[in-house]
Symmetry: C2
Subunit: 302 residues, 2 copies
């Protein structure tokens, strides 16, 4: 049994996560949710004074915006489209017959207007673009939602439905790279406060296919993505618990995000993998949160 | 312009809800989320002493359990299955070509193991069944999740992705019907505390097709479903903001939920439509929560 399975088993046994029969899809206990809520309050304490606009999108987004985003070019294997039955009563009867004999009943489901949100900030850009030019002082948003990634794994830190908290900054290149830099410092400070040892490293997204390798190399060369890594299920391959992304003016150009002086906005986002952070805490300090070190409890629950 | 559109427009203008370009799929402002959080704390105050086990499932569930549930028999039009791209690099190239020329790129998406949760309690029954017999004193669960229903509407009270808070009770027929009865009283008390005028009425689920009419009539005749109704977008057709459902032993038999004495468990659930309740409050007391009557603010924010 590998170390990932055994941590997952311990999480199931303790009741912190609840097996649903699908790898990467779990229920959460009150104690698990309490850790996430406490960590989100810690995020609020670090980011609250910045005056970000809070928006909460559901776990699905407009398919048209998703198509424009280019996600299917880069990560087709991870996306989840939502499909529904759109037939009449006769179609319904054959669907039920299909189910009865154990055949594939899903092949006639039709795509709806909704796609599962792949990262909390995806629905934001087209929303902000509709508002008109951004002030030259920039704009800042605070987001959180369940996100979907179609990747089955027994690593509890790689879930198919998980929560991402994000701050998104729009403005000049200097403004958004300063924002990213300040969150890298804050990230180190926050994780130190909760007793986690971390490293920060240049990273790349899991672009699809051979052509994706070039995109990944380019992203690394230009240092567009950093990750804050914490050992969870492997000390050799620590898990990305935060990411710090500079999109240059790519999203600004794609979505028509302009500053008042007419220039294209640069954007950056900082994301917290909330389940991963909770799991890092549970792995490092033990499965019983009451027995966590006093300093950690104080940082989280005051 | 009908009254529903105009309430939706006012919600968009005030920023409480955020247009995503898809009817029934909206972003939420901090103020909107604050109303939901406050109402959930009110629910906690009424239900907290009952000692329910808190479980939080994500917005998706195991497709195999969904199939067993029989949801596709009764409500095929509302369900949302999650599909993904499972091809190789060549398939990816033809997918991208498809998108480029504006053809339907979704037809080759394949169903994953995950279906969007249609009601917060659906993932619970198979989870509890795996634990073995229930104590004769019964069991009580506290759930909340985003749920999906594929129904496009300009009525803000009919959203495609919305949150449902639920209590689910399992035990003898008397135990679970007493539970349901007590929440009907609590529901009236809670809504009175927040200044909303309500009625409670026998109801039925939106079963699909002509055969569904019989199921609906049967459900009404046996008083298996009650709804707590509040006028939101129409006073002639008030909106169901809570529902009180007695499943008899149907779910117990389907999922193998037994009491320790070997009898099949009866089940009942009480659901809060959190967005609908927030909208009822906003409609009745105005879009600025700071200006709500003092008694209502006190009940919600203490």
């Amino acid at each position: 049994m590998d170390i990932q399975t055994s941590f997952l088993d311990r999480l199931f046994e303790s009741g912190l996560l609840i097996d649903t029969g699908v790898d990467g899809l779990y229920g959460r206990s009150a104690q698990f949710e309490d850790v996430i809520a406490a960590f989100e309050r810690l995020i609020d304490r670090f980011g609250g004074a910045d005056g970000a606009e809070v928006i909460r999108f559901p776990s699905g987004m407009n398919r048209a915006f998703f198509e424009t985003s280019g996600y299917m070019k880069s990560f087709p294997q991870l996306a989840g489209t939502v499909h529904s039955f759109c037939g009449n009563e006769l179609d319904h009867m054959s669907l039920l017959k299909c189910m009865e004999v154990g055949e594939d009943w899903t092949k006639d489901q039709e795509a709806t207007d909704i796609v599962l949100t792949p990262a909390a900030c995806y629905p934001l850009y087209p929303t902000v673009a509709k508002r008109g030019p951004l002030p030259e002082s920039g704009a800042l948003f605070d987001l959180q939602s369940y996100c979907f990634r179609h990747e089955s794994s027994k690593d509890p830190a790689r879930q198919q439905l998980f929560r991402m908290r994000e701050y998104v900054c729009m403005g000049t290149a200097k403004h958004v790279t300063d924002f990213r830099q300040s969150w890298m410092s804050r990230g180190v400070e926050m994780m130190t406060a909760v007793g986690l040892e971390i490293t920060i490293d240049v990273a790349n997204d899991p672009f699809f296919g051979r052509a994706g390798k070039m995109l990944a190399n380019n992203q690394r060369d230009q240092k567009l993505k950093f990750e804050l890594l914490i050992p969870i299920t492997s000390s050799a391959k620590p898990t990305a618990c935060m990411s710090f992304n500079y999109h240059q003016d790519a999203f600004g150009a794609k979505w028509g995000l302009n500053l008042e002086d007419g220039s294209v906005a640069h954007t950056a986002c900082v994301g917290f993998g909330l389940e991963r952070i909770a799991l890092a805490l549970l792995h490092h300090h033990g499965l019983n949160t009451v027995a966590w070190p006093e300093s950690v409890r104080k940082a989280l629950w005051g």
